[in-house]
């Protein structure tokens, strides 16, 4: 039998695809496997209660979930409009050279390591927040939210830009025919047409924000309490995992880490499903 290179190639690539698929399945599988004993063992659903106080045997991670959501949503609330603004600027609201510079800046920001953001923010932003707000220690929800919005900005902006570029190319003539200026074309034609793309960027940003570890770990204070004010010190699920694994030894605390991991995975799956449904309908439009 001849050495059929094509067949071997097919098999090899298929194998790598299989490996990738298996890896994903393994990650989900193992984490759920390790999280299961928490529910079936003595603790039951108390892991989802609202108080974290290991000294008294309370291992509720709900405050952490709330903190993750609060930080991610506030980062999104600040970052998404900024990303949109930058995109519109690049696509026509600003003079071309400035637009090009901004695009380069955005691309550069994707390579900015998050740990470096955190490091710089500890020494620049934390004192400002502390003195400026007059309350709290500077390590807070607000501080983490501000820096996180910078972290997720480039991802969202680049996704928006990719979508807007295509749509703008399509609609430029339409706008010209209607007598619109470039700015008006963007505002009234391109943006509405790109709606799905903009939402997808938001979903992507949210996913990225909720999954970030270092910014909340370094800047949010890590107190396991329910977030109530912007200057409160809070602990996100990701920071919780990092802290507990780096320092704790109690097996009950360990269990909470796996549950936290599963919660994060669930959020990830939800975000991905949203993205898929958004982009799929966008394609057929």
């Amino acid at each position: 039998m001849r050495f059929d290179r094509n067949r071997i190639a097919d098999v090899t690539f298929g194998a790598s695809a299989l490996v990738t698929g298996l890896a994903v399945a393994a990650i989900f599988g193992f984490l759920f496997l390790f999280a299961l004993p928490v529910f079936t063992g003595g603790q039951g659903l108390s892991i989802l209660s609202g108080v974290w106080n290991p000294g008294r045997g309370q291992f509720g991670i709900l405050p952490m979930l709330a903190a993750s959501l609060c930080v991610a949503l506030s980062a999104l609330a600040l970052g998404w409009p900024l990303a949109l603004g930058l995109c519109c600027g690049i696509r026509g609201f600003l003079p071309r050279p400035i637009g090009r510079l901004l695009l380069m800046l955005l691309r550069g920001m994707t390579a900015f390591p998050t740990v470096v953001y955190g490091f710089a923010a500890i020494f620049l932003l934390v004192p400002i927040m502390r003195e400026g707000l007059g309350r709290g220690s500077g390590l807070s929800w607000a501080t983490a939210g501000l820096v996180l919005s910078l972290v997720i900005l480039p991802t969202m902006a680049l996704v928006m830009d990719a979508g807007m570029r295509q749509t703008e190319r399509r609609l430029r003539l339409t706008g010209a025919a209607l007598g619109f200026t470039r700015e008006q074309t963007l505002t009234h034609l391109v943006l509405p047409a790109c709606r799905k793309n903009l939402l997808a960027a938001a979903a992507l940003g949210f996913g990225r924000a909720i999954g970030d570890t270092l910014i909340p770990l370094m800047l949010a204070g890590n107190a396991p309490q329910w977030p109530s004010a912007a200057w409160d010190s809070i602990r996100t699920l990701t920071a919780h995992i990092g802290l507990v694994l780096a320092t704790d030894s109690n097996s009950a605390a360990y269990g909470s880490v796996f549950v936290a991991g599963c919660l994060l995975l669930l959020v990830n799956v939800t975000v991905q499903l949203c993205l898929r449904s958004l982009l799929r309908t966008g394609e057929t439009a």
Binding site: V126, A223, Q225, S233, D248, N250, A253
Partner: protein, 271 residues
């Protein structure tokens, strides 16, 4: 290469008294150390000297706190697990750990140097950490909100602090959590309204330690009993140590090791 080797050997001979480090000559091995963060300066200096004499020995040092020391030492993930507290009988029974106390360290409350307060009582500290006292002006300081800093749950330093100063009282859930002695020191040094607690060996000019119930926190006072909030620093191994690990532990108990311990700010304890 021979020149470099000779240089390294002459350097090591002149650096320190040859006797204790001789035990490491010509040996190979790995020693992974993890656990209490108070121990790190001592471990680091000892490892530096040993590895300079004999690069064939690899020593890695991680922090994590006493909880990690017990867990990783017990599971065998590291050869030496450091703790800043005595092991509980459960831990000894579960993991079969052998403890070696090598230093005395005190635990003191620290505040920012800019803070005007100079003396605190245990009752005040208890109320502060419970969240009942929230402003420094209630203690005679300036009008500034108190920022609480505490350690993670598995910290030996925290356990000593909770047992001896808080008398098992609660820590308010709004307290910022930091993962090590070094981190606590940095946090308090940077925040003018901060209050925290560290091992006395970590106290330097960047933080201020007010007197506690009239006792001045210092290592001498910790050693002679005037300052009562103390704990011993332990190295723990799974079973009796052997080989390079045993050599390392023995080295810490030599006069040279005692010198390192003193330089790091602790009081050495005989084996």
């Amino acid at each position: 290469m021979i020149v470099c080797l000779t240089m390294a050997m002459t350097l090591s001979v002149s650096l320190a008294s040859a006797a204790p480090l001789d035990a490491f000559k010509g040996k190979q091995g790995t020693v992974d150390i993890a656990g209490g963060t108070a121990h790190i300066p001592v471990m680091k200096e000892a490892a530096k000297r040993i590895m300079t004499v004999n690069p064939g020995i690899r020593i890695s040092i991680a922090g994590g706190g006493s909880g990690v020391g017990v867990q990783q030492g017990g599971e065998g993930l590291v050869q030496i697990g450091n703790t800043g507290r005595a092991l509980s009988s459960d831990e000894v029974a579960k993991y079969g750990l052998v403890s070696f106390a090598f230093a005395i360290d005190g635990v003191a409350v620290v505040i920012n140097p800019a803070n005007g307060v100079n003396a605190l009582t245990a009752a005040q500290v208890k109320d502060i950490y419970a969240g009942k006292i929230t402003n420094w002006k209630e203690l005679g300081g300036e009008d500034r909100a108190i920022s609480l800093y505490t350690r993670d749950e598995a910290s030996g330093t925290r356990e000593v602090f909770a047992k001896k100063l808080l008398a098992k009282g609660d820590v308010a859930p709004s307290a910022n959590v930091v993962p090590s002695n070094g981190a606590m020191k940095t946090a308090v040094a940077q925040d003018p309204g901060a209050i925290g607690y560290v091992g006395i060996g970590h106290i330097d000019s960047t933080v201020k330690a007010p007197t506690m119930d009239g006792m001045t926190p210092s290592q001498e006072n910790a050693a002679n009993g005037t300052y009562t909030i103390t704990r011993k620093l332990y190295m723990n191994t799974k079973g009796e140590p052997a080989g390079v690990v045993k050599d390392f532990i023995d080295y810490v108990f030599t006069p040279e090791g005692a010198e390192i311990i003193r330089a790091s700010g602790y009081i050495p304890v005989a084996k």
